[in-house]
Subunit: 218 residues, 2 copies
């Protein structure tokens, strides 16, 4: 199934829905489902079927009129669109509670994240073993990045340390940063920063509880 | 500043941006900035100024031609739109690494989340003290909810336990659920569920690293 690789710009809203497609299709693959109509799949995900078809049209021709989608084929295509056929060498910096939660998360390697090293600046935990990884000193970070050819850095430090760590990661050749610190990170143009603001979900919840009557989908 | 409370439906995409407005304005308030133009504010947030004005138009009249926005006034309006003038009594269920990260997070009470109790089913940690909260047994959850008048439940259990916990929360009168378990939760119609899938950020990062040339904003 060919992936269109032309210069068509993909709207940010479409990019945001791709992880949802991946999650739902992964469950359907695991359940052994062979095919699904665009109506069924869109209902499952709480979007319209025209939205689903339009989103997928950015990436190629999927599904057949009257037949629907082959689940495994669509899942594999989404994986390819997302770049999950690669394995990215990754470090995590900041081994607090959130860092530990991520280090222990089972789903990362399935998604192509190859965690190589974990770092902190707290002498009390340097040397500690977490899920098979030994906590290293941040002082070792810079040389480690180049020696191991690290591509992605995950920042789970306090806000005050995030930019300094990002600077080290970028100087060491990292091209993708997954930032959990509540701090805007400035980078070079060719470094991608993805910010995950966990607390945003709480604000959305509050809003929806207050304005139930004004929501598109109840 | 009046908040329009009519039946105008707010698009999901606008709701998703509200937490970002809150975050940026909070920083500007903390920095003591008095006013900001819609151009400056939109540039800071990486959206167009027409987008900003259109988003805010769902909630009332903000800013003045040639003057811009009064920062504190806009921040307070966003807080009111988000429902942050209330305090929501909350429990958290599932005291693993992610649960601990949330319990230790300083930003919750500022955002109106009043954490009252934390629960787990692991005898090894029941009774443990975390950031001033004692871990209670899940068996105490149902009566606790009604006695304390709990409004929000945060689920940080494994996927396999999430629906069972949600059922207890709903039976106990909770009207909002913030779900971190990678599991779809079925609820009654008047219960709001906000899902936070932390791993989605990783997939977005992979996509952007692979398709740099197809992004709207570099």
């Amino acid at each position: 199934m060919p992936i269109r690789t032309g210069p068509v710009v993909v709207p940010a809203a479409v990019i945001k829905r791709l992880p949802m497609y991946y999650r739902y299709l992964q469950v359907l693959v695991d359940e052994g489902l062979e095919r699904i109509s665009s109506r069924e799949l869109s209902q499952l995900m709480g979007i319209t079927s025209s939205q689903l078809r339009q989103d997928l049209s950015y990436f190629g021709e999927f599904g057949q009129q009257g037949y629907g989608y082959k689940v495994t084929e669509l899942y594999q295509a989404i994986c390819e669109i997302l770049g999950l056929e690669k394995q990215y060498k990754t470090v995590l910096v900041g081994v607090g509670n959130l860092g530990r939660a991520l280090i222990n998360y089972q789903g990362f390697s399935r998604r192509g994240l190859n965690l190589k090293g974990i770092f902190d600046n707290n002498p009390a935990i340097i040397g500690e073993n977490i899920n098979g990884f030994t906590v290293r000193s941040v002082e070792e970070l810079r040389p480690y990045l180049q020696k191991e050819g690290i591509q992605i850095g995950v920042i789970t430090t306090p806000a005050s340390a995030a930019q300094e760590i990002a600077d080290i990661l970028i100087a060491g050749g990292v091209t993708g940063i997954w930032n959990f610190a509540p701090q805007h990170i400035s980078t070079l143009e060719d470094v991608i920063v993805e910010n995950t603001h966990i607390g945003d979900g709480l604000l959305s919840l509050f809003f929806k509880m207050k304005h139930q009557e004004r929501l598109e989908l109840k």
